[in-house]
């Protein structure tokens, strides 16, 4: 057991050595290493930035505001006290924050005021407009998903003729968001593929420039695994550095657009602030970079290392 743990320690130590050795090699050519890492960084920052913007749009569209009031049209000929009682009943529901009863006369008055069709309305034999209850859902208890259940519940009430929610703009926005999400996903996939190829090609060049060294190592008894290891760690470093670059790029981009965005949103809803997801992205971007880095290196190593044999 003691021997095993000792060997394991030696194994880890060797890996650490190769890891630092690979980093040292990147350091020997700072400019080209930096350029490769930057390319990777930009390729990862682009979809990540779009993702952040989309998440923010989703946050906005998930918020309830005045536009999502529900208008409940009552049946013709409902008495005012009956309508007011109904409005008070609805107000006691947990998902409702407020209700306003508006008699048919008040509705007509409002319509007259808004439309300016005084003469025409006077010519009507009787008021064609129904009484309404304007319902404001409680935004803490109702989400855009659960609102349809609420609508059905209102519709099922006695003496309710029709329930209407001006949700169409919200649903359109949500459809657009879904489309954008899919688009960003595809873009991310394509850019990830390009990162994979960039790293693969960089490692391929590194292998080619070290052909004679690889031959010597094979001659003195190096296993493929031993020869492969520094190249995989090179891919690892490119990936993790690229991921960190992507994160920094993103923070810079966000800080550049956050002022105009906050200015824009303050005109609609004062509650909104731009979400940055900095911690989440600091975890995710270097992780994805690392995976792509090792993956790209693995592709290159698998294809090219076997062809280099001592002659």
């Amino acid at each position: 057991m003691k021997g095993l743990s000792f060997n394991f320690k030696g194994y880890l130590l060797r890996h650490l050595q190769v890891m630092l050795f690979s980093l040292g090699r990147l350091w020997q050519q700072p400019l080209s290493s930096l350029m490769t890492a930057t390319v990777i960084g930009i390729a990862l920052a682009l979809p990540a930035g779009l993702y952040v913007l989309l998440q923010n749009v989703n946050t906005v569209s998930d918020q309830w505001d005045d536009a999502s009031k529900i208008t409940v049209f009552l049946e013709q000929g409902i008495q005012t006290n009956h309508g007011e009682k109904l409005a008070n009943d609805i107000k006691t529901w947990p998902e409702i924050s407020d209700t306003i009863y508006q008699s048919s006369d008040q509705t007509l008055e409002e319509f007259r005021h808004l439309s300016g069709l005084n003469d025409l309305l006077d010519a009507l034999p009787k008021n064609p407009l129904p009484a309404v209850v304007i319902v404001t859902p409680d935004e803490n208890n109702v989400t855009s998903e659960s609102v349809s259940g609420l609508l059905e519940k209102l519709q099922a009430l006695a003496s309710v003729d029709q329930v209407q929610l001006d949700m169409e703009w919200l649903q359109r926005l949500r459809s657009i968001n879904k489309l954008l999400e899919r688009g960003i996903g595809l873009l991310a996939a394509l850019l990830s593929l390009s990162v994979l190829l960039v790293i693969g090609n960089t490692i391929r060049l590194a292998i080619l420039s070290r052909q004679s060294e690889i031959r010597v190592m094979k001659l003195v008894g190096a296993t493929d695994r031993f020869i492969r290891r520094p190249f995989l760690y090179t891919g690892f470093w490119y990936g993790i550095l690229g991921g960190l670059f992507a994160w920094i790029t993103l923070i810079i981009m966000m800080s550049l657009i956050s002022d105009p965005i906050n200015d824009l949103t303050s005109r609609y809803s004062s509650a909104f602030t731009l979400q940055w997801f900095t911690g989440f992205l600091l975890l995710v971007l270097p992780s994805i970079g690392t995976l792509l880095g090792i993956g790209g290196a693995w592709l290159a190593v698998g294809r090219h290392l076997d062809n280099i044999e001592p002659d």
Binding site: L13, R215, V216, K218, L219, G221, A222, D311
Partner: protein, 221 residues
């Protein structure tokens, strides 16, 4: 230690480098492989180091049948053989110490043991003071001695050398041969391909001469 039985090597261009070659090298023996360039010397060494495989016939090295060694096992097989080349094959971006340490690093030897054995090996070839130099800063003879130090650092039972004195003047060549003799004296089987007949004529070791891929003579002196 090294036994060839009716060995043929035909390259893809149908050129026959070795034709029906048979010979035997004893454990602890030192021998020279001679012949004109193109006689098959390099091919023969490559077969022993498993850089090439024979087309026909059997090669036994240290009781292992080389045709039975799979590609994956080749690295472990090669660790039993120290190789010395005419052009040294050193890594030019690493110090003398790191070059010599390479076989031990590959075997996963621990840090302290690596340092101890690399220095012992460099001491043996007289280059202990140059351990921090880069190979480029050394003379041809010194580079060749670094190559030898690397070949023996993991104490392989067999030492193969392909024209180790090819680029050296007679005095340096004699020094190098002297080194090989010292390793032979501690039990290493040494097999050296060379065309420097003048140099080896003064040395009391067997010569295996190749002519067009066959044994030209087999004379023990």
């Amino acid at each position: 230690m090294i036994q060839f039985t009716d060995v043929y090597k035909r390259y893809q261009d149908r050129h026959e480098a070795l034709s029906g070659l048979s010979f035997h090298l004893n454990k602890g023996e030192m021998a020279f492989l001679t012949g004109h360039s193109g006689a098959g010397k390099s091919t023969l060494l490559k077969l022993i180091a498993l850089i090439e495989r024979s087309t026909h016939g059997q090669v036994l090295v240290n009781q292992q049948n080389l045709t039975r060694i799979s590609k994956r096992k080749i690295p472990y097989y090669r660790r039993q053989i120290g190789l010395v080349f005419q052009d040294h094959n050193l890594l030019h971006d690493r110090t003398v110490f790191d070059n010599v340490a390479l076989p031990l690093i590959i075997e996963g030897e621990n840090h302290r043991e690596v340092g101890r054995r690399v220095r012992a090996s460099l001491d043996k070839v007289g280059l202990l003071s140059k351990e921090r130099s880069l190979p480029i800063a050394l003379s041809g003879g010194e580079q060749q001695r670094v190559g030898i130090a690397r070949a023996v650092v993991s104490r392989p039972p067999i030492l193969l050398a392909d024209e180790p004195t090819g680029n050296l003047d007679p005095d340096l060549s004699r020094d190098i041969m002297n080194l090989f003799e010292q390793f032979n004296q501690v039990g290493v089987t040494v097999f050296i391909a060379t065309h420097d007949l003048e140099l080896i004529s003064t040395l009391p070791y067997r010569q295996i001469a190749l002519h067009q891929g066959r044994l030209a003579q087999q004379a023990a002196q």
